[in-house]
């Protein structure tokens, strides 16, 4: 009983943290501050994974998103000069209106999907999916083809990124 209450308290705190930091992330003017709140949101969702018993997912969430991806984003933000954008006043443009409409529609879709398909009741067999061994076994047996296709896609994206960032056209003299 005490464990359940403790889990509930942790759940409430971390989900509030995730929501508040996501809100702060989209409202901050300073891009570095936004990025930091995004890291906080990722860490909070990692704790939610832990509460579900998915240790592997939680750690991967922190390593990949809070660690690697956000470090790259911070690196890029520090490289480029955003002082002009930060001084811009709120201006309603066509892209912003379109963005608002699309995100409201997306939120509605999410609410509908979650509302219709939400799983109620106790933690079932799904809870073992967060286990490193289970995920590894599934990836190399049942989902081998999608796994390989995804990795080829990532490789192609990587090669593409290298090509795009090269200064001279392919075949020319590179450094």
């Amino acid at each position: 009983m005490a464990v359940l209450i403790a889990k509930w308290v942790i759940f409430v705190i971390t989900s509030l943290l995730a929501i508040v930091s996501s809100l702060l992330m989209i409202t901050r003017r300073n891009t570095i501050h936004s990025a930091l709140f995004m890291i906080l949101a990722f860490v909070a969702s990692a704790i939610l994974y832990l509460l579900l018993g998915c240790q592997f997912m939680a750690m991967i969430q922190i390593i990949v998103y809070a660690g690697a991806v956000m470090m790259l984003i911070l690196f890029v933000i520090m490289m480029i000069d955003l002082s002009k954008e930060e001084k811009l006043k709120m201006k309603v443009t066509r892209t912003k209106i379109a963005g608002v409409i699309v995100s409201v529609l997306f939120m509605l879709a999410l609410i509908l999907v979650m509302g219709l398909n939400s799983v109620k009741g106790k933690l079932g067999a799904l809870s073992s999916i967060g286990d490193a061994k289970t995920i590894g076994t599934l990836l190399f047996t049942k989902y081998l083809l999608p796994f390989e296709v995804a990795s080829i896609l990532l490789l192609a994206a990587m090669v593409g990124a290298v090509m795009l960032s090269k200064k001279k056209a392919f075949g020319g003299e590179d450094q």
């Binding site: 390593i63 470090m71 911070l74």
Partner: protein, 324 residues
């Protein structure tokens, strides 16, 4: 209830010993570096300068705490805390001894044993990197920003090779749990099966904790201390502590993964663990006194074009040998 008390006592003891080690690591480094450079090192405070860390702590505490006018104040204050806190979190999963029986109560000598211990280490190590990067950026100083940029680039580059160098050990042990990895080394240390991975690990780890010859983010000669240029007083002391705490953790992890952790004959396990870690820490101090700093482009070249392919090859060779 007994479990809770046990955990609290373990956390307090490990925290105390760890911070004590970190404090005296600063003295050890100054002493050894002094000897390497044919001088004495600190020897004024107490016998052999043994009270130097305490004196340093008091000095740092009473110094004026400066925050530059154009600094980003919250991040400026947060950054050193991130560095220290992540290093302290890392020590939580490292098994430093076998189980002992005390008052008819079996106690495992580790704070916690996660199934995904290695991933936990990488997760908190990657969080800890933000301390250096944000600290440099928030100072509002161009040297600080350059130091932060270098830190970010260097850490991204060497993190890949670091994780790849550990994968061989995971394959041999068949587990991500650090205590299982230590138990699997009862007969033979992993360093015998994975000698190159051990070397790669130590090199990448030195780069991850920004130590010579990879101390680009704080290269004194060109950046005037880089990321911590604007830090003074206790905040600087926190960065300093974080640096040494990371050094101890990196060596403790190397001991756990490659040198058999607490396994060893005759002496108790905890002692073996401390001895092995100390040898590695001593190596890190020694090489600091020996190697010159590399140039930034050399570091990037070495990380991406030499270290990464070598660690990948190590993983492939390990897989082939295991399959045969």
């Amino acid at each position: 209830m007994a479990l809770l008390i046990e955990s609290v006592v373990k956390v307090i003891v490990v925290f105390g010993i760890f911070m004590g080690c970190v404090a005296y690591m600063t003295l050890l480094e100054r002493k050894v570096l002094g000897r390497v450079q044919v001088r004495f090192g600190p020897n004024r405070v107490g016998p052999f300068g043994l009270w130097q860390p305490i004196a340093d702590g008091i000095k740092a505490f009473f110094k004026e705490d400066l925050i530059p006018a154009n600094a980003d104040k919250p991040i400026f204050i947060l950054a050193p805390m991130i560095t220290v806190a992540s290093a302290l979190c890392l020590i939580a999963v490292i098994p430093f001894g076998d189980k002992i029986t005390l008052f008819g109560h079996t106690i495992y000598l580790r704070i916690t044993d996660l199934d995904v211990g290695i991933l936990y280490l990488f997760a908190f190590a990657s969080i800890g990197e933000y301390g250096v990067v944000l600290g440099g950026w928030a100072s509002g100083n161009k040297y600080g920003v350059i130091g932060a940029m270098r830190a970010a680039a260097q850490m991204i580059s060497y993190e890949l090779a670091l994780s790849l160098s550990v994968i061989g050990v995971i394959m041999i042990s068949g587990s991500l749990s650090l205590s299982v990895i230590v138990e699997k080394q009862a007969h033979m240390w992993n360093v015998v099966y994975q000698p190159f991975a051990f070397i790669f690990y130590m090199v990448c780890a030195l780069a991850e904790i920004n130590r010579t010859p990879f101390d680009m983010p704080e290269a004194e000669a060109e950046l005037a201390c880089g990321y911590n240029i604007e830090y003074s007083s206790m905040k600087f002391a926190l960065f300093f502590m974080g640096e040494y705490a990371h050094l101890v953790v990196v060596c403790a992890v190397a001991t756990t993964l490659f040198l058999g952790g607490w396994q060893g004959p005759f002496l108790p396990g905890v002692l073996w663990f401390l001895i092995k870690t100390f040898v590695l820490v001593f190596f890190c101090i020694w090489e600091r006194g020996t190697f010159p700093r590399l140039r930034y482009d050399q570091i990037m070249h070495f990380g991406w074009k030499i270290l990464l392919p070598l660690t990948l090859a190590n993983v492939v060779v390990t897989a082939i040998v295991m399959a045969l």
